[in-house]
C-alpha cells in the first residue's frame, strides 16, 4: 500500500467503522464484533506504520490545502506512545461501554458508538499530525465530533453543558490558537513540527522579538484549552453530564490528552526548548498551572458528585503535565509524557469504577456510597488502586511518573513546582481517602439492590488495574520510546 494510505489508516479506519456501525446497528449479533474490530484494526494499522524502519522521522504529505501547507502525517516518539495509548484504551473502553450502555438502557446507541468512533479517528489524526495546521484541523474536528457525545442524553442539562463545551473549546481555539498559528506562519513561513523547534531553527540568526514569542506561548497554552488550564477549564466539569464511557475515554483519555499532547508538540517542535528558556512568560504560565493544580484540588475536596470530583482531579493532573513541560529540560519532557500515560490509565480506571457504581446502584453522590465495598469488591478495589496511583504510591504507575517529574524539577531547582506537587499530593490524599474509607469501612446507608455488573465491565476494569501495575513494573515500555525525543 502506498505510504499515504498507511499513514491515513488510523484516521480512516475509525471513520469507516462509524459508518459501518450506523448501517449495521440493527443486526444485534454483529454489534459486538464490529465494535471490537475497530480498535483492533486501528492498532494493527499503527503496527503497519512502524514497520517502516525510519518511521520515526518521516513525514508524509497527504495533500495541500494552502500553498505549501496541508495535511501532513508522521509519527515521532511522543505521538507514537500517544496513539498506541489511545487505541489500546479504546479497546478496553469499547468493552466497558457496551456493557455500561446495556445495563443502563441508554438510547440511540448506534449514534453513540458511531460518533465515538469518529472522535477517536480525530484523536488519531491529531496524534499523527506532523504540522501545526493538521493538528489544528483535527483538534477542531475533535471538538465538533465530541459535541454529540457530550449532549447524548438530550435533556436540558446536556444542552446547557453542550453550549459551555462548544463555546469554551471553539472560542479559545478561534481566539487564541488560530491567531497564534497564523503568527507562527507569518514569522517562519512554515508550520512543520521540526525537531529542535521550528521557531528556534528559523529564528536562530535573527534577533528574536522576545515579547512577541512570550505572548505567543501564552496564546498557545490558553488556546489549547483541551488541556484545561485555568481559567478555560470549566468545560470539563460541564462535560460530565455525558454517559460515563464518554467521560472515561474522551475526557480522561482522548480529548484532554490531545490537549496536553498538543501543548507538548507545540512547545517542543514549534518553539523548541532553546527559545523557550529565554522567555519571561514561562514563569507566568508555571504560576498559572500551579494555581490551577491547587485550586482544582481544593474544589475537588468539596465535591459530592463523584464524576465532578474526578473531573477536577483531571484538570489538576493535566496541569501537572503542563507544568512539567514548562521545566524545559529533555528529562522533564519525558517525565511529562510518562505522566500523560500514567494519568490516562489511572483516570480511566477511576471513571470506569464510578460508572460501574452508577450502573449497579444508581448512585452518583459520594455521600450515598457508604459501604459499597462489601458488595462491589472488584470495583472498589479498582477505585482504590486508581486513587493510589494518582497519589503516587509505589507499585502503581502513577508513582513512576510523579517521581520523574519531581526529579526533573529538582535538577533545575524549580522549588516552586516541588512545593506545588507536594501540596497537591496531600490534597489528593485528602479527597480520595474519605471515599475509600466510605467504601470499605462504613455500613450501607439503606437497603440497596445491587444490579450485577456484566462481565465486560468487570473485565475492563481488571485490565486497567493490571495496566497500572504492569506499567510500573515495566516502565521501559514507554520510556525507551520517548527517550528518542531530540
Amino acid at each position: 500500500m502506498s505510504q499515504q494510505i498507511i499513514y491515513l489508516l488510523p484516521v480512516l479506519i475509525p471513520i469507516f467503522l462509524s459508518i459501518l456501525i450506523k448501517i449495521t446497528w440493527e443486526i444485534q449479533n454483529l454489534r459486538y464484533p464490529i465494535l471490537l474490530s475497530g480498535p483492533i484494526l486501528a492498532l494493527w494499522s499503527v503496527y503497519k506504520i512502524q514497520q517502516n524502519s525510519d518511521f520515526m522521522s518521516s513525514s508524509i504529505n497527504i495533500f495541500d490545502i494552502f500553498p505549501n501547507i496541508g495535511i501532513s502525517l508522521g509519527l515521532e516518539p511522543i505521538s507514537f506512545v500517544f496513539i498506541i495509548m489511545v487505541n489500546s484504551l479504546w479497546l478496553v473502553a469499547t468493552l466497558y461501554s457496551y456493557g455500561y450502555m446495556r445495563t443502563n438502557n441508554e438510547k440511540r446507541l448506534g449514534n453513540f458508538f458511531s460518533f465515538f468512533a469518529i472522535a477517536i479517528g480525530c484523536a488519531n489524526g491529531a496524534a499523527l499530525s506532523s504540522n501545526l495546521l493538521t493538528l489544528f484541523i483535527f483538534y477542531e474536528l475533535l471538538t465538533v465530533s465530541t459535541y454529540p457525545l457530550v449532549t447524548h442524553k438530550g435533556d436540558e442539562q446536556s444542552k446547557q453543558s453542550g453550549r459551555k463545551y462548544l463555546l469554551i473549546l471553539l472560542g479559545t481555539s478561534l481566539c487564541f490558537f488560530l491567531p497564534a498559528m497564523g503568527y507562527v506562519y507569518y514569522v517562519s513561513g512554515d508550520l512543520d513540527f521540526v525537531s529542535g523547534g521550528l521557531l528556534t531553527t528559523t529564528l536562530s540568526g535573527m534577533k528574536v522579538n522576545n515579547i512577541a514569542i512570550s505572548i505567543l506561548l501564552v496564546l498557545f497554552i490558553f488556546g489549547i484549552s483541551k488541556a484545561a488550564v485555568m481559567p478555560f477549564h470549566s468545560w470539563l466539569p460541564a462535560a460530565m453530564v455525558a454517559p460515563t464511557p464518554v467521560s472515561a475515554l474522551l475526557h480522561a483519555v482522548a480529548v484532554v490528552k490531545v490537549g496536553v499532547f498538543s501543548i507538548i508538540k507545540v512547545l517542543v517542535y514549534i518553539f523548541g526548548l532553546d527559545i523557550l528558556l529565554g522567555l519571561f512568560s514561562v514563569d507566568f504560565m508555571i504560576y498559572i498551572c500551579g494555581f490551577t493544580i491547587i485550586t482544582t484540588s481544593v474544589i475537588a475536596l468539596k465535591q459530592d458528585n463523584l464524576k465532578k470530583l474526578l473531573a477536577y482531579s483531571t484538570i489538576s493532573q493535566l496541569s501537572y503535565v503542563v507544568i512539567a513541560i514548562l521545566i524545559l529540560t529533555p528529562s522533564a519532557i519525558i517525565a511529562a509524557s510518562m505522566h500523560l500515560v500514567a494519568h490516562a490509565v489511572s483516570k480511566i480506571t477511576l471513571f470506569f469504577a464510578a460508572g460501574a457504581i452508577y450502573s449497579s446502584t444508581g448512585y452518583t453522590k459520594i455521600s450515598e456510597m457508604d459501604g459499597i465495598g462489601k458488595n462491589l469488591k472488584v470495583v472498589s478495589i479498582a477505585f482504590t488502586l486508581g486513587a493510589m496511583s494518582l497519589v503516587g504510591i509505589p507499585l502503581l504507575v502513577g508513582f513512576t511518573s510523579k517521581w520523574y517529574i519531581v526529579q526533573s524539577s529538582v535538577e533545575v531547582g524549580q522549588w516552586f513546582i516541588l512545593l506545588i506537587i507536594t501540596i497537591s499530593t496531600l490534597l489528593n490524599i485528602g479527597y480520595f481517602t474519605p471515599i475509600i474509607y466510605k467504601f470499605f469501612f462504613k455500613n450501607e446507608l439503606k437497603e440497596v439492590s445491587f444490579k450485577t455488573l456484566p462481565q465486560d465491565i468487570n473485565l475492563s476494569i481488571i485490565i486497567c488495574c493490571a495496566l497500572m501495575v504492569i506499567l510500573f513494573l515495566q516502565p521501559n515500555l514507554v520510556m525507551e520510546v520517548i527517550s528518542n525525543v531530540k
Binding site: 495533500f63 500553498p67 489544528f136 474536528l141 462548544l166 488560530l178
Partner: protein, 493 residues
C-alpha cells in the same frame, strides 16, 4: 463562435429572458432557462480557459474599437467569477421548478424565470464590461430585475421590501454614476483601462477623491456594507426562496467585484491606499459589520432574516480583506467571494426545502427537524459550520487567509475581531443546531409535502461543495491566487 464568448456570456441569459416572456408555458420556460444556463456555463468556462492562456482578452462590442466603443475586458479574475455565478445560478435553476410552484402564483412563474435570467445577464455584464457607464447600465438591469424577483413572492411584505430596495438601490446606482460623471469630466473617457492610464497623468486631486468617494458609497449601498445594509434583511426574508438563494450568492458579490476593480485597476493601489482615512473607514465599517450584524442575527426569529444578517457580516469579511489590502488579505477576499456564494446558496436552498415541505418561517418551527427531515437538517448544520470557520469547511479557508493578511500588517485588532465574530456566529448557529437536534417537534405540524428529488439533490450538492472546497482548494484557492496575482497586483509584483 468562441471568439464572441464575451458577448455570448452576457447575451445568452438575456435572450433566454426575452424568449421566456414570449412563451408563457411554465415548464417549457424552465427548460429554456436551463438551456440558457448551461450554454452560459459552457461559454464562461471557455472564457476562463482563454483568459488563463492569453492573459487579458479585449473584446470590442459590435466591432467598435475602444476607447470610443464599449469594450469587454476579460481577465483571470472576472472570468473566474463569471463561471462561478453561471454555475451557481444554473444549480439554483434546477432547484427552482418545484420550489416556485409552491411559492408563487402560477401565472407569475414565467415572469420569474425571465427576471432571473435578466438579472443573471446583467450580473455577468457587470463582470465583463470594461466601460464605466456600461457597468452602470448593467447594474441597473440586474437591480431592476432583482426588485421584481423580490416582489414576486406570495408574502405581501415582499412588495414593501422591493420598494425599499428600489429606492435605496437607485440612490446607490445614481451615486455611482455621479462618480463616473466626475471621472468623465476629468479624463474625458469612459473606458476603464483608458481612464486608469489617463489618471496617471492627472494632477487634479480633489475631484478625483470626490469621485472615489461617490463610487465607493454608491457601491457600498449595493453590497449592503454596514450601515448601508437596511434593505438586505427584508429583501432576503420576503423574496421567494429561489430568489433569496440566487441573490444571496450572486448580487452582492458582483458589486464587490466592481468595487475591487475600481480600487485596483482604475484608481490604482497607490492613490487609494495612500489615503489613510479610506483604509480606516473600510476597516472600521467591516469590523462593525462583522460584529453588529452577527449580534443582530443572534436575536432574529425569522430564519431567512437571521441568515440575511449573517450575510451582512460575511460581506464585512470580504471588505475586510480589501481594507487589509495585502496579498493574503486580497486572496482572502477573493476566495471568500467564492466560498460565501457556495455557503449561502446551500443554506438558503436548504431553507427553501423547509418552506416547501412545511412552510417553515420562524426559527422555533425548526424544533425536532433532525427527526422529521434528517437530510435537510444535516445540510443546514454542515453548511452553517462554515460560517463559524470550522476547519474542513470553506469558511476556514477564507478565515485563514484573512488572519494571515491581518497579521502581516500587524493588525492584531482585526485578528481578534475575526475570532470574536466567529464566536458570535457560533452562538446563532448553535441556537439553530440545538433546536434542530435537541428539541422534540412542536405539536400541530403543518402537513408535509415530500420534497422533490431535484431540490434535495441540488441542496446536497451545494452542501458537499462547502466541505469539498474546504479540503481541495485547487479550484477556489489556487484560482483566486492567480486572479489576485495577475490582475490586481500585476503592477505591484
Amino acid at each position: 463562435m468562441n471568439e464572441h464568448a464575451p458577448a455570448l456570456v452576457v447575451m445568452l441569459p438575456i435572450i433566454g429572458a426575452v424568449l421566456i416572456m414570449l412563451i408563457r408555458h411554465n415548464n417549457l420556460n424552465w427548460g429554456i432557462a436551463l438551456l440558457s444556463g448551461i450554454s452560459t456555463i459552457y461559454y464562461s468556462i471557455i472564457l476562463y480557459l482563454n483568459a488563463r492562456s492569453v492573459g487579458t482578452i479585449s473584446y470590442a462590442m459590435g466591432g467598435w474599437e475602444p476607447p470610443v466603443g464599449i469594450e469587454y475586458r476579460i481577465d483571470e479574475f472576472n472570468s473566474l467569477l463569471i463561471a462561478l455565478i453561471a454555475t451557481v445560478s444554473f444549480l439554483i435553476l434546477v432547484y427552482a421548478k418545484s420550489s416556485l410552484n409552491i411559492e408563487l402564483k402560477k401565472n407569475k412563474i414565467s415572469t420569474f424565470y425571465s427576471m432571473y435570467l435578466l438579472c443573471l445577464g446583467g450580473l455577468i455584464g457587470i463582470l465583463s464590461t470594461g466601460d464605466a457607464f456600461n457597468a452602470f447600465v448593467f447594474l441597473e438591469i440586474s437591480s431592476l430585475a432583482t426588485y421584481v424577483i423580490i416582489s414576486m413572492g406570495n408574502d405581501r411584505r415582499g412588495l414593501l421590501a422591493a420598494y425599499q430596495y428600489l429606492i435605496i438601490g437607485t440612490i446607490g446606482a445614481t451615486l455611482y454614476v455621479i462618480g463616473v460623471g466626475l471621472i468623465f469630466i476629468i479624463t474625458g473617457s469612459l473606458n476603464l483601462y483608458d481612464i486608469s492610464v489617463k489618471l496617471g497623468d492627472i494632477e487634479l486631486y480633489r475631484p478625483l477623491l470626490a469621485s472615489l468617494a461617490f463610487i465607493t458609497v454608491g457601491i457600498a449601498l449595493k453590497i449592503a456594507l454596514f450601515p448601508l445594509h437596511a434593505w438586505l434583511p427584508n429583501a432576503y426574508a420576503f423574496a421567494p426562496s429561489v430568489g433569496t438563494a440566487f441573490l444571496a450568492s450572486t448580487a452582492t458579490k458582483v458589486a464587490i467585484y466592481l468595487l475591487i476593480k475600481y480600487l485596483y485597476l482604475v484608481y490604482g493601489f497607490d492613490l487609494v491606499y495612500s489615503n489613510q482615512i479610506f483604509i480606516f473607514v473600510v476597516l472600521s465599517l467591516s469590523i462593525i459589520a462583522m460584529f453588529g450584524a452577527s449580534m443582530i442575527a443572534i436575536f432574529q426569529s425569522n430564519l431567512k432574516k437571521l441568515f440575511a444578517y449573517s450575510s451582512v457580516a460575511q460581506i464585512g469579511y470580504i471588505t475586510l480583506g480589501i481594507g487589509i489590502a495585502n496579498y493574503n488579505g486580497l486572496i482572502g477576499s477573493t476566495v471568500h467571494i467564492i466560498n460565501h456564494s457556495i455557503i449561502k446558496a446551500a443554506i438558503f436552498l436548504a431553507i427553501g426545502c423547509l418552506v416547501f415541505s412545511s412552510k417553515i418561517v420562524n426559527i422555533d418551527q425548526l424544533a425536532g427537524l433532525g427527526k422529521r427531515m434528517p437530510m435537510v437538517a444535516v445540510c443546514i448544520t454542515v453548511s452553517s459550520l462554515s460560517l463559524i470557520g470550522v476547519p474542513g469547511t470553506v469558511g476556514f479557508i477564507s478565515k485563514w487567509y484573512l488572519v494571515l493578511g491581518s497579521l502581516e500588517q500587524g493588525l492584531w485588532v482585526v485578528v481578534f475581531a475575526l475570532a470574536v465574530s466567529s464566536i458570535l456566529a457560533l452562538i446563532y448557529v448553535g441556537r439553530i443546531i440545538e433546536l434542530i437536534w435537541f428539541h422534540a417537534p412542536v405539536g400541530g405540524m403543518v402537513s408535509q409535502n415530500k420534497i422533490p428529488f431535484e431540490m434535495i439533490a441540488v441542496t446536497v450538492v451545494m452542501t458537499i461543495a462547502t466541505i469539498y472546497f474546504g479540503i481541495d482548494t485547487r479550484l477556489t484557492g489556487d484560482l483566486a491566487k492567480i486572479a489576485v496575482e495577475n490582475v490586481l497586483l500585476g503592477e505591484q509584483l
